[in-house]
Amino acid sequence: MTIAPNVDSPRTATANPPVQPAQGNLGQAAVVRSSAGGPVAENPTALTPVAKLIDVSKCIGCKACQSACVEWNDTHPGVEENVGVYENPHDLTPDMFTLMRFAEYDNPETGDFEWLIRKDGCMHCADPGCLTACPAPGAIVQYSNGIVDFIHENCIGCGYCVSGCPFDIPRISQVDHRSYKCTLCSDRVAVGQGPACAKACPTHAITFGTKDDMTALAAERVEDLKSRGYDNAGLYDPQGVGGTHVMYVLHHADKPGIYNDLPEDPQIAGVVENWKGPTKTVGLAAIGLAALGSVAMGLFSRVAVEPEDERHAEDLVDRAAAIPGGEGSGEGKDA
């Protein structure tokens, strides 16, 4: 199956991947935002926003998503050691774009124990902190379907994206010094496939489709959870970052923090905003003005040494030399 570049975003992938040459719909033509003033499309292809929905209440923490992610993206996470937890690798790495995080929670209300398992990874924010912070033009782009992708050729490995991200997701490779994170399998989505993790997920805890479809599905799930006594069940689609293209269904949406510190109200840090905003403008302006100002002042005024200053100086030196042993002291001549 060949996808014309103008074909719309896929719904949750139900077909097997193509093996015939397929033309994708993600590329420069669909770029709506690009880091550091990188190139954006004149009038970008209008793709329907997509989303990955992670239903924590269906997740069994099997790590199929991690496995599928590694296989699809050809990364090679190392064999670490066991440190007394289920998380392996122990954190996101440039070779592990997604990670199951396990939390053991004694629910004070019910007195029941709960094992809260959350798939961590890039949230694909509508307002991405990484893109805001990035100093390299075109290193981070946002496509019209909402996918935030790294264009590694343009990445300079400064790590600003790590500081810019409200979810602490990007990781810098110590090998090629470029930043890596979940691409939402942009290469699969481009040809009408869902992300590898969503396709693999055994219990369909991860589903992929248009953001509208996923939001509707989430509502259905929340209703089911409420019927099972999870009164605070809800959808996690934080507006602080303009909403995300990876969303969670949580049984305890009122306490995202209990799912391994999922941020309550994530947003791009104030300092980052300031640094990338006022500091930059004001700073550059000040430098510009100072430069101009001094040049101007230099033109209109100067402090020059007058000839009599030289004479005063000679007198002063001579007089000092003239005191005891004055005449005949030949130091001056020597000079």
């Binding site: 992938a13 097997n16 590329g27 420069q28 296989e71 481009a190 693999a200």
Partner: protein, 198 residues
């Protein structure tokens, strides 16, 4: 003279000098034009598909194996394995083991030649198929002829062979299993079992 001094001094302002000249040299960052946005080329393009089922647990998920001819060996090599979306049981999904099947098929610890470990030796050494199979046949014949029990104490024909045992696999095909059954049973082996219990 003062003026002279200052002019010379000004021209010696190193930093500015370097900057000025370099800027001229490089057509103002043309070299730094950003690579245009693009996604990774679709990696399954022009691969061959084969339908199979996962060899691990008994859910028997449908999988599709994508292969290419390996330049080195000239043999077909699996480059990717993914769940079969058409399969009624798994609907394209796979567990963490199934999703990584490719690395099982291509594992560095796959065996590629018959090997023998001689009594008391501390290492394997290669052996040819023929030699290995003849060794096995000889050993079987000798042991069977020596220990086959035709009649029991009561004189009832029992035709059993207890000094050689065979442990069958748990992931071979029915067809392999049937052939194995025929071979093992025909010889009268009773110490015959499989992995059903473990």
């Amino acid at each position: 003279m003062n003026i002279d001094l200052s002019r010379r001094g000004f021209l010696k302002l190193a930093g500015a000098g370097v900057a000025a000249t370099s800027l001229g040299a490089l057509g103002f960052g043309e070299a730094e034009a950003a690579e245009l946005a693009h996604v990774r080329g679709f990696k399954l393009t022009a691969t061959t598909e084969a339908r199979n089922t996962c060899p691990y647990c008994s859910v028997a998920c449908g999988i599709i194996m994508y292969s290419r001819i390996d330049d080195e060996t000239g043999k077909k090599r699996i480059v990717h394995i993914e769940g079969d979306a058409d399969h009624p049981t798994n609907r394209g999904t796979l567990c963490p083991k199934g999703a990584a099947l490719k690395d099982f098929v291509n594992a560095p610890t796959r065996l590629t030649q018959p090997r023998i470990r001689k009594p008391g030796a501390d290492a394997f050494e290669p052996i040819g198929w023929n030699e290995a199979l003849d060794k096995i046949a000889r050993a079987l014949k000798d042991d069977r002829d020596a220990n086959f029990m035709s009649l029991n104490e009561a004189g009832v024909p029992v035709n059993r062979w207890t000094t050689t045992g065979f442990l069958a696999a748990s992931a071979t095909t029915n067809e392999t299993a049937w052939l194995t059954y025929k071979v093992v049973r025909s010889m009268g082996v009773v110490a015959f079992d499989n992995q059903a219990r473990v």
